[in-house]
């Protein structure tokens, strides 16, 4: 029974994660700790391994469609890891509770922006997909000022991620979509590619400390691979309005959770 639940929920996590450019940790960590009573460190470590597989499975399909902006992904990722390192150093100097409260407000504002955009453009997108590939958005076409803002935003995203343990997708998708004005599908695909790199760096520490159950990780990785592959394959058939609204819901959920835990 446990095995069936584990398999079903992680398939769902992979499915939702790949459609929205998230790792799925937001679903998996509570599942592992609450349902399966895994210690929190082991839950996070196992979830990180699953996130890598989720990212890889989605990225194969998104890369094939030309939806990943590699120049944006590599640049933003570099600044994100700088921020994450700085966040790790600064963790002792900042009150985590205050940061959690402030970031909850930022997430709610971002959710509002996403939902507003979804409703505003809903009419023009009825009938299906509007963006395939990179042809309608080019990273090189962005102004220097905007790029600098994005790099700064990535440093901030890395710091927040490191200070509060928030996954990359929740921050990166809005950053690429709202700040860099990339179409939502490119934002999601680029974020899906990036979160694997972030999770990989984190997971190395967990695996070497023994905070990963290899067998559980392998089972979860297999099921999340299926979910992510299916999700990324059918993603173009899902209306962008639904994706944006769904993402707003995830942001609101994360904000509330962070506020309560803060």
């Amino acid at each position: 029974m446990d095995f069936a639940i584990l398999f079903a929920v992680t398939i769902l996590a992979g499915f939702i994660g790949s459609i929205m450019g998230l790792g799925g940790g937001i679903i998996m960590v509570p599942l592992f700790t609450i349902v399966f009573a895994l210690p929190i460190k082991m839950a996070v470590g196992t979830s990180l391994v699953a996130i890598i597989i989720n990212s890889a499975a989605s990225s194969v399909i998104y890369l094939e469609r030309g939806e990943v902006s590699l120049p944006a992904a590599l640049r933003l990722q570099t600044f994100t890891v700088i921020g994450a390192t700085a966040g790790g150093v600064a963790a002792g100097f900042f009150p985590a509770r205050l940061i959690a409260y402030l970031f909850s407000v930022v997430l709610l504002w971002t959710a509002y922006q996403m939902a507003y955009k979804a409703l505003r453009v809903a009419k023009s997108e009825i009938g299906g997909d509007v963006s395939h590939g990179n042809q309608d958005w080019d990273f090189y076409g962005l102004g220097r000022k905007l790029r600098l803002w994005a790099y700064g935003g990535s440093v901030f995203a890395g710091m927040i991620s490191s200070l509060l343990g928030v996954g990359g997708g929740v921050i990166q998708v809005p950053l690429i979509h709202l700040l860099l004005k990339a179409p939502i599908r490119i934002s999601i695909a680029t974020s899906a590619f990036m979160i694997g790199i972030t999770a990989s760096a984190g997971a190395a520490h967990y695996v070497l400390r023994g905070d990963i159950n290899p067998l559980t990780a392998v089972v979860v990785a297999t099921s999340i691979f299926v979910g992510a592959h299916v999700g990324a394959t059918i993603a173009p058939k899902i209306r962008l309005t639904y994706i944006r609204v769904g993402f707003s819901a995830v942001l609101i959920y994360t904000a509330i959770r962070m506020f309560i835990q803060g």
């Binding site: 391994v49 399909i61 094939e64 990179n134 023994g210 089972v219 990785a221």
Partner: protein, 111 residues
């Protein structure tokens, strides 16, 4: 090389790497999964008893392979190279170096 061509090649190479990792994962499921990498005591979902000795079992090898997966993608980007956009290649190199340092630090932390 143009970005579209890089994306297609990266996707193909990535598929190959994932196929190898999935292969290792399947092998690990059919092997003796009770012998895991670490001797730490924990209550896992499927593995109930801790091993007597730390053994590098296939399950653990699969996990390590999974962790190295994103690094391979960056390495592939480096091999393919952006002819018209050298900074992107430099960023990829920086990320690869960072990731390798991270893994080395993690190894040092434990062993």
């Amino acid at each position: 090389m143009m970005e579209r061509a890089i994306q297609e090649k990266l996707s193909r190479s990535f598929k190959f790497v994932i196929a190898i990792v999935i292969g290792i994962m399947i092998l690990s499921v059919f092997s003796n999964y009770e012998s895991v990498l670490y001797s730490r005591n924990y209550s896992g979902i499927l593995s109930s008893k801790p091993p007597d000795n730390p053994i590098l079992a296939p399950g653990a090898i699969a996990v390590l392979a999974i962790i190295l997966l994103p690094l391979s993608s960056i390495a592939i980007i480096l091999v393919l190279k952006y002819k018209n956009d050298k900074p992107t290649t430099y960023y990829a190199a920086a990320l690869l170096v960072y990731s390798i340092i991270n893994v080395i630090l993690a190894i040092n932390l434990v062993w």
